[in-house]
Each structure stands twice: as structure tokens, then as C-alpha cells.
Amino acid sequence: MSFDLHRPATVTEAVDLAQRFAPTARYVAGGTDTVIQINRKKIDPAHLIDVACLPGMSEITETADAFALGALIKYRSIETHPAFRGNLRVLLEAASVVGGHQVRNIATIGGNIVNASPAADFVPPLLALDASLDITGPKGRRSVALRDFIVGPGRTNLSPVEIVTSIRFAKLPARSATAFLKEGRRRAMEISVVCVAACLTLEVSASRCACVRLAIGAASPKAFRPEQAEGYLIGKPAGNESFAEAGRLAAEASSPISDVRASAGYRRDLVAVMVERALTTCLQRIREQNQ
């Protein structure tokens, strides 16, 4: 455990440093994951490049039809931001169950994404919002859909010198709602046994599903969208029966592991229950909006 800590002032400087010290360099922001991994000797970087204070990466920007979240935004900022109390509640709900306040005051949403843990709580909501990432690297900027970004447990298509600078997603149409559910052994300070994010849009009639995006964490090598379950629901009446079937399909699509936190079988059962409940919550929320 011995490294140099660099504190670049701009994204360009950061990328230059990463290039100079690659492959032994690693970016660090809030450090809530990186420092633990260093201490547990899981990683041993020779150079840490502190991006926590880079300018322009901590804003929540709202346009007419979209949001852009700076990658350095802290969970606690998401939790307390008024924009996420309506139909984007999934973000608030996911942000508020990550660690304790102490972690949420410093850990960044970008860090959670690039960390690509199968159980990362903030990834399913963004998958359910069909978010894409803005990435800056030596060759300039690029954009990639989040669902293509994470490729496996702890693995992304980010090159070691690239930085995720922001996360963008479209606002939801009318008659939409979102929800996030998490199960763990305790009610706080948990790594998800399973987490589910749902985004439901109803048809104009408000009785059938027009668009459904589901995302499931901790039940597969990476957080995933159960496409069969989503597809099944399109045009179906929104309600217990169809939601339960979607849950069943989602459970079928999951490929959980057994570990010290739960067995694969229990995780699969949870997926079914939680998908159904998350959709039911969305439906209730849409109805409440319309009241």
C-alpha cells in the first residue's frame, strides 16, 4: 500500500495524469469504495488521481425534456433535491438507502456506476430511466448507454484513462411513475440482497401499460433489464395479475448467486415479489398524481 495522490484541477489534467501513469493509476472521488479496496488489498494502485473537486461535475441540470447529473453529485444531494420527489422518485429512493448519511455525504453517483458492483443501488434506477453516460478521455468525449456500459461484475467499457463526467436521462411522459425497492437483512447499512427499479408509463386510457422499464440489481453478474418481462407488459392491463406475471418472468431471467447474504433461490423469489410490488407502487403513484 503505497501510492502517490494527485489532485488535478481540470478533467483534461486528470486524463493527462491517468495517461502518464497508466496502467498503475486509478481515479478516486469520494473514496468510499476505493480506499476500502486498497485496505483490503484488492487493488494496489501506484497513483491515485483525485477527481473529487473537478469543476463542473457536481451540478444537477434540468432542461425542458431531460436531466443531466454531474458524476460527482453526492447521494445526499439527490435525496434532498426537490426534482426527485415526483415521478423520478426512484432516484431519491435508491440514493437514500446507500450506506449511512456519512457515506451519502461524500460518495458520488459516478463512483457507484463505474464501480459496477452487481449490487450497486444507483445503477438499476438509472437503467430504468434508460440513462446514458458522458465520458471524457484522451480522444475527447463520447456518450454511451448505461446498459452497454457495464459489462460484468466490476467491469465496464470505460478505459482506465477515461472519466465519466455526467449522466443524462430523458424526463418521463405523463402518466409515468417510478419506484425503487431494496431487500437486505437490515433496514439500513445494507448491500442489496436484491434491488429493483421500475419505471411505468400508462396508455392515455390509464389502464394499460404503454412503456415499462425494469432493472434488477444483485440478482445477476450485472444489473440487468428483464426484457421479456418488460415486453410482456406492453399493452397489458396494469394490475396485480400482469405485474405478478412480469415478476415471474423477471425472476426467470435472473441468474443470482448464493453467498453469505442469501441463497440464489431466495434471491430469485425476491425478484418476482419485488418486481410485482415495484410496479404496483408505480401504478399507485400514477393514480395519486392524477387525483
Binding site: 480506499v35 476500502i36 485496505n39 449511512g100 456519512q102 455525504n105 439500513a188 447499512m189
Partner: protein, 164 residues
């Protein structure tokens, strides 16, 4: 060793410390500056005894690299009150019987302070307090009297704020 100078403000006092890059803020506070009220346990941000305020917000000092807080302002338990001038939270913790072994208490008080300071004058519900302190484990009290203490302090702070 590639030591570097770190400038930080701790409890209002400026400090210049020679640090190694892997040192955490906890190590600097305890070993270099002598703020022993900041406690050490799990070192993985799971227990909360190391909580301090970084620019007013509660964080786990055990996993924050000291080099990352250059120029920042840190508040430890020693910085919010002393035996002659207790902070309302400190007073309420004693009064409500919220202190047993006491090892989590500095972190608990600072976690609560950070939360109460988010909305000055707020009187959070017991459930909100419960949620706010969930990142700090207490094995002695079962939390009830800690919640009593935070609620009591919040009331007093709100009241004194209203008077001013």
C-alpha cells in the same frame, strides 16, 4: 517516503501536517493532531465511530484520504463544545441517559449535528432521526435514548433559534 504538506483547519485552528499519501483523515486527526475524540473501529465506514464534519457534513474519516481534504475545514467532537460549554446535543445526550460506554457517542453526536444543520431550526420526527443516525452503530443503548437526546436537542436548538 513521499510525504507532503497538508493544510487543514481543525475546529477553527489551522494546521500544517506532513502526511503520507495513504494516511486517512482519521489517522491524521488521531496521530498527528491529537483529536482523540474521533474514534477508531471498523475502518470500513460501517460503524460510524470515526465520524467528523467535513465542511459541516458528517463523513467517515476512516476511509477518507487526508490528502483529499487539503484546505478543508474539519470539526471533531472537541470542536463543538467543552465541559464548561456543552453543545445542546452534548447536554441532551447526558440528560437523556443516551451515553453508556460512550465509544460511539462522538460520532453519534456529530452525525446528528450534521443532520440537524441541514435544515436549521427543524424538529425532525423520531423516524427521521432514526434514519439519520443509522450509519453509526451503538451496541449499548438500543438507540431509544439516543433518539430522545437528538429530539430534545433539536427542540432546544429550534427554540433558541426562534428567540434570536
Amino acid at each position: 517516503m513521499n510525504r507532503k504538506i497538508l493544510n487543514i483547519v481543525v475546529n477553527g485552528e489551522s494546521h500544517q501536517v506532513l502526511i503520507e499519501p495513504h494516511w486517512t483523515l482519521l489517522q491524521v486527526l488521531r496521530n498527528e493532531i491529537g483529536m482523540m475524540g474521533t474514534k477508531e473501529n471498523c475502518l470500513e465506514a460501517e460503524c460510524g465511530v470515526c465520524t467528523v464534519l467535513l465542511d459541516g457534513k458528517a463523513i467517515n474519516s476512516c476511509i477518507l484520504l487526508a490528502g483529499q481534504v487539503e484546505g478543508c475545514s474539519i470539526t471533531t467532537i472537541e470542536g463543538i463544545g467543552d465541559p464548561e460549554h456543552l453543545h445542546p446535543l452534548q447536554e441532551a445526550f447526558i440528560e437523556c441517559g443516551a451515553v453508556q460506554c460512550g465509544y460511539c457517542i462522538p460520532g453519534m453526536i456529530l452525525t446528528a449535528k450534521s443532520f440537524l444543520d441541514e435544515n436549521p431550526g427543524c424538529r425532525p420526527s423520531r423516524d427521521e432521526i432514526r434514519e439519520a443516525i443509522a450509519g453509526t452503530l451503538c451496541r449499548c443503548t438500543g438507540y431509544r435514548k439516543i433518539i430522545d437526546a437528538v429530539a430534545t436537542a433539536a427542540d432546544r436548538i429550534a427554540l433558541s433559534g426562534a428567540k434570536q
